[in-house]
C-alpha cells in the first residue's frame, strides 16, 4: 500500500478556498485516491475519489497531476461546519481502506 503524507493541521477563515495536499510517492498503477471527512464522534464520510486529472462533485474537487504522486483536495468557500479531519487514502481494487493520520482543518469565523 502506498504511504500517504498530509499536513497534520490547517486553519482557514470562513469563505476561503482550502487546498489540502497529500503526497503518495509510491502509488501503484492500479491504485485510486479517495478522501474522507470525519466530524468528532462520527464515522468518516466519503467525499471524493479519483484516478487522474480532475474530479469535481457538489462538495469538493480533487486534482491529481500526471505523475499521480500527490493529490489536492479543494474545498471551495469553507464554512464553520467544514471543521473536521480530512483523510487522504490510496487503495487498490481488493484492499480495504487503511487510514493515515489525516489533516485537522479548523475554520475560523
Amino acid at each position: 500500500l502506498a504511504k500517504t503524507t498530509q499536513p497534520i493541521s490547517m486553519d482557514s477563515y470562513e469563505g476561503q478556498e482550502v487546498n489540502i495536499t497529500c503526497s503518495h510517492n509510491n502509488i501503484a498503477t492500479n491504485d485510486y485516491i479517495t478522501w474522507y471527512q470525519q466530524f468528532p464522534s462520527q464515522g468518516p464520510r466519503f467525499i471524493i475519489q479519483g484516478y487522474k486529472t480532475k474530479v469535481t462533485n457538489e462538495v469538493a474537487s480533487l486534482f491529481i497531476p500526471a505523475d499521480r504522486k500527490s493529490s489536492t483536495l479543494s474545498l471551495p468557500r469553507v464554512s464553520l461546519s467544514d471543521t473536521a479531519v480530512y483523510y487522504c487514502l490510496v487503495f487498490s481494487g481488493n484492499t480495504p481502506l487503511v487510514f493515515g493520520k489525516g489533516t485537522r482543518l479548523s475554520v475560523i469565523a
Binding site: Y32, S41, G43, P44, G93, V98, F99
Partner: protein
C-alpha cells in the same frame, strides 16, 4: 434512508467482562468492516467480511472476534476488555473491498471501567 446502524451508541463495560457491539445495514453491501479509533488517532482496521469470508488483520488481538450471521448484521465481540480497548468502534460497509464509497456508522464509544 439506507444506512449503517450501530448499537449501542455508548457502552460501558467492566474490565474483563465480555461485551458485544452490533452493526446492521440496509444497503445490502457485500463487505462489512470493523475499525477501532482511539482518541485523536486514525481509524484502525480490525477485520472485514466479504460476504461470509472473514479477513483478520495481522495485528488484531485475539481478544477481538467477529460474527456475521447474515448480510445485514455483523457483531464485534471483545472477550476480555482491557483498559486499552476503550475506543470508538466503527462499522462500515461497501459493495466491494476496494475503497470506493464506504458507508460508516456513527460508532459505538466503549468505556472500560
Amino acid at each position: 434512508d439506507a444506512m449503517v446502524i450501530q448499537n449501542p451508541r455508548y457502552q460501558v463495560t467492566q474490565f474483563g467482562k465480555p461485551v458485544t457491539l452490533s452493526c446492521s445495514q440496509t444497503l445490502n453491501h457485500n463487505v462489512m468492516y470493523w475499525y477501532q479509533q482511539k482518541s485523536s488517532q486514525a481509524p484502525k482496521l480490525l477485520f472485514h467480511y466479504y460476504d461470509k469470508d472473514f479477513n483478520n488483520e495481522a495485528d488484531t488481538p485475539d481478544n477481538f472476534q467477529s460474527r456475521r450471521p447474515n448480510t445485514s448484521f455483523c457483531f464485534l465481540d471483545i472477550r476480555s476488555p482491557g483498559l486499552g480497548d476503550a475506543a470508538m468502534y466503527l462499522c462500515a460497509t461497501s459493495r466491494a473491498t476496494g475503497g470506493y464509497g464506504y458507508t460508516f456508522g456513527s460508532g459505538t464509544r466503549l468505556t472500560v471501567v
